[in-house]
């Protein structure tokens, strides 16, 4: 099923990218004749279905082809892998930090509902949503790299983890805010539900109650907000990558689509990877639902 979806996605993307205005190579100094010649050379004069078949057969051989305007027309795969790796590492760092901090804040806020800590959590989550991560990045850079020269001013690949801290922190801001907010709201709802009251009435309290009854039920909607965040963060943050000079996929995508030529093959390759990731995470999400909430697992079995 997922394979069929992926196939459909590739087809739709393939067709859409052929409609994007602009040529897949720089044309500023070319004559009309040269442009046509170049297009023919790249096989762009063939009917789109034949182009698609060619592309799919190349893809099935495990190749994403060569670039058309970026990086010497070199094979895409190795270059994309480097960028993916960089974005992934930073994305994972920021997801881990964002989710942990978000859950922490959300739970603290829910347990102290209406008190000072709750208000603090609200302020943090609102700031997190309001301040774009790149503005926060600039602040971090300004204070920690310029005012006190602690972190390197630009990303330094030779000290990967150390120089990842600032971008990961700024990217996690949005995750912290979203997760904290959802956790708080869900926790409050669950804590007021009948079964928690019943459990309390039966004498269950404290950590045990939280773990067995509250957290489990509160986490379902939280998982739904984390999943898209994961895709977003793993696939890179364009502006932050640009400011801090990280060689990541967000930047690669923008270079491919906003350069002098729209590099069809890069845009396609990146989109396909993003889609596969997205589908993978959605699958994972469905499985997670089942683990967290046995009721869903049961219905799924009945249906099958």
């Amino acid at each position: 099923m997922s394979v069929l979806t992926l196939f459909l996605i590739i087809f739709v993307l393939f067709v859409l990218i052929r409609i994007v205005p602009g040529n897949p190579f720089p044309v500023e100094r070319m004559s009309a004749e040269m442009i046509l010649q170049k297009r023919a050379e790249l096989g762009l004069d063939k009917p789109i279905l034949i182009q698609f078949v060619d592309y799919m057969s190349m893809l099935l051989q495990g190749s994403f082809g060569n670039g058309t305007s970026l990086y010497n027309g070199a094979p895409i795969k190795p270059i994309m892998m480097i960028c993916l790796e960089n974005s992934f590492k930073i994305g994972v760092l920021s997801i881990l930090f964002g989710t942990a901090a978000g859950l922490f804040l959300g739970i603290i806020a829910a347990l102290n509902r209406g008190k000072f800590l709750d208000g603090l959590c609200t302020v943090v989550s609102i700031l997190g949503v309001c301040i774009p991560s790149y503005v926060f990045m600039i602040f971090l850079q300004y204070f920690f790299s310029y005012k006190i020269s602690f972190f390197p001013y630009f990303f330094d690949a030779s000290r990967f983890l150390f120089s990842s801290i600032m971008p990961a922190l700024s990217l996690s801001l949005f995750a912290i805010a979203t997760v904290a907010r959802f956790t708080r709201n869900e926790m409050i709802e669950v804590m007021n539900s009948d079964y928690v009251k019943l459990a309390e009435a039966k004498g269950l309290y404290g950590f045990e109650l939280m773990r067995k009854h509250v957290l489990r039920n509160a986490l379902i909607p939280v998982v739904t907000v984390i999943a898209p965040l994961v895709v977003g963060l793993l696939t890179g943050a364009m502006v932050t990558e640009k400011i801090y000079g990280i060689n990541g996929v967000g930047k690669l995508m923008v270079d491919a689509i906003a350069g002098e030529g729209v590099d069809y093959n890069y845009v396609l390759a990146l989109s396909i990877v993003f889609s596969a990731l997205y589908i993978g995470i959605m699958l994972l999400l469905d499985i997670l639902y089942g683990i967290i909430d046995p009721r869903i697992r049961l219905t799924a079995k009945e249906a099958a």
């Binding site: 205005p21 500023e28 010649q37 010497n72 094979p75 930090f97 942990a100 602690f150 150390f162 060689n247």
Partner: protein, 548 residues
């Protein structure tokens, strides 16, 4: 949950503790690049950043000295035939960084390959610029061995031209004409040339020590086998891609970078700071910003711009001094000619081609009354009172958004009835619109490739470059053809004067409205000297740079 979170914080602090203590970058040259290096293949690259890095690593036949004069590089000397159509270059003993000799065959291989690949810059070989024999045919798919280049022996490289080209020696410093080691190239997997330090060979001053496609940080070090290695004082240095000018300023203050380019608002800030402003310099860049009017009668506003008076009205309603002083602010100069200032000096008199800015004052200037006069004429000729025109521009950073808004405000104020609608777009889409004539006005920055007015004048011919194909003038075409490969090519003075005639045709028809010649405002640390800046081709050269 507490525990996990706590451990994470501890881990972060630990890592932070280990990595502290930033080394000062003050004694290492760190140069800002405003955009990515797109390709290190001299046959493929089209952007200034790539040209610059390639020129750091590879030497061509000639190079430019600090004043922009051609001096020997790989070619120790050269002879020109009587008719100026055959150049014989005598190569010196130079080595590639893998130990191979640099031979004439490397040049033959590279030139043939570039013509055959027919990428954007292949045009520089053809009859509009270098006039290499048979280049046009090879670019269109002909046999590459018919190209007019040959290597009678490993140290002699002969080029045959279709017409004499007065600036040919200087042109040889342009990266498209650089050699590629054929044996090394063929030993690589297809398409991998120039994607890592291992797949790239230098014969020039520096070698790549760290580079990946798309990387924001490029490390270079001195090439010990360079033929002129004694003269190179830089040892290891780096490029850093910085996209925001504000970021660049802070990085300079911080000492992370010691040569950066900044834009208007940052320039104002620096000028207010007595200490910092000592490092500020304005370097002319030779790039011309201008507005193109689409005269295609079929365009979607029924070709109002096909009316010359409307074009002249708009051109004369723009206060170029206000543009540069209030909005660009980096030292750019208002320009009233189709050729930018500080560019293309006459080989005999040494005067710049566009030295006299008043010679076309009848057509280009800022005079609201005159502009309104033209506008009244246009209105009666077209039988319309109001014109809504679409202005397209590419928004790849830079000051173009400020400039275009200022133009809109000036034109709408000075010519009541004209409405300009701004349409920003990515570069590829912009080029698509420009080449297919679907726009009314377009804001263009044109960067010269070589130090001759022709790098601009060939833009507006009927044949060739697609970016201005809506206007066609037989007289203009004839002058350009005569000057590039025709009867005037051999006569320096006659060619020079004919180019003024061509420029006059262009401006009296108001094909374009020139705005200003760009400049780069740079901050350079006081301990750096010897960086050469050029208006055309490779903009910055670091071969003679020193750092104390």
């Amino acid at each position: 949950m507490f525990k996990k979170f706590f451990m994470l914080i501890c881990a972060a602090l630990l890592i932070a503790g280990c990595g502290g203590g930033e080394e000062s970058a003050n004694n290492k040259l760190s140069v800002m690049l405003a955009s990515n290096v797109v390709s290190l293949d001299s046959g493929q690259c089209t952007d200034v950043a790539s040209f610059e890095v390639i020129a750091d690593c590879i030497d061509g036949l000639t190079q430019l000295d600090a004043d922009g004069k051609a001096i020997p590089a790989i070619a120790e000397s050269f002879d020109v035939s009587q008719d100026g159509k055959t150049y014989t270059f005598h190569l010196r003993d130079a080595k590639w960084s893998n130990g191979d000799d640099v031979t004439a065959d490397d040049f033959v291989f590279a030139w043939r390959r570039h013509c055959q690949k027919a990428e954007e810059y292949a045009y520089i070989m053809d009859s509009t610029v270098a006039c290499v024999k048979n280049a046009d045919a090879v670019i269109k798919g002909g046999d590459p061995t018919t190209l007019g280049v040959s290597a009678p022996d490993p140290k002699t490289f002969v080029v045959e031209l279709d017409a004499p080209v007065s600036f040919f020696p200087a042109l040889m410093s342009f990266p498209t004409f650089y050699p590629i080691n054929e044996k090394f190239y063929n030993s690589l997997d297809s398409g991998t040339y120039g994607t890592t330090p291992d797949t790239f060979l230098s014969n020039g001053a520096f070698v790549l020590s760290d580079y990946l496609p798309g990387t924001a940080n490029i490390q270079l070090k001195k090439n010990d086998s360079y033929w002129n290695a004694d003269k190179i004082s830089l040892d290891a240095w780096q490029y850093q891609v910085v996209s925001s000018s504000d970021n660049a300023l802070i990085a300079f203050k911080n000492g992370t970078l010691n040569l950066v380019t900044i834009s208007g608002s940052q320039v104002e800030h620096v000028q207010a700071d007595a200490e910092l402003s000592k490092n500020l310099k304005s370097i002319p860049s030779g790039a011309l910003s201008y507005l193109t009017f689409n005269q295609d009668p079929k365009n979607h506003h029924a070709g109002a711009l096909a009316n010359v008076n409307l074009r002249l009205a708009i051109s004369n309603a723009i206060d170029r001094e206000s543009l540069t002083e209030n909005y660009v602010m980096n030292g750019s100069t208002p320009t009233y000619t189709a050729i930018p200032i500080h560019f293309a000096p006459n080989a005999k008199t040494g005067k710049f081609f566009a030295e006299d800015q008043n010679q076309f004052a009848d057509y280009v200037g800022f005079d609201v009354d005159k502009a309104r006069g033209f506008f009244e004429k246009a209105k009666s000729e077209l039988g319309k009172d109001s014109f809504e025109l679409e202005v397209i521009y590419s928004n790849d950073g830079g000051g173009s958004t400020k400039v275009i808004q200022a133009i809109k405000s000036q034109v709408e104020e000075n010519l009541p009835g004209v409405i300009l609608k701004l349409q920003p777009m990515p570069k590829a889409e912009y080029l698509d619109k420009v080449t297919t004539n679907s726009f009314d006005l377009a804001l263009t920055d044109w960067v010269p490739d070589y130090d001759d007015p022709m790098t601009f004048l060939t833009l507006w011919t009927t044949e060739g470059c697609e970016i201005c194909e809506h206007w066609s003038n037989a007289d203009y075409d004839k002058i350009i053809a005569d000057c590039t490969s025709g009867s005037l090519a051999a006569d320096y003075d006659a060619r020079w004067n004919a180019m003024y005639d061509a420029e006059k045709i262009l401006l009296e028809n108001a094909v374009i409205a020139p705005l200003f010649t760009n400049a780069n405002a740079i901050l350079i640390a006081p301990n750096i000297s010897g960086v050469d800046f050029h208006v055309a081709g490779v903009n910055r050269v670091f071969k003679s740079a020193t750092i104390k």
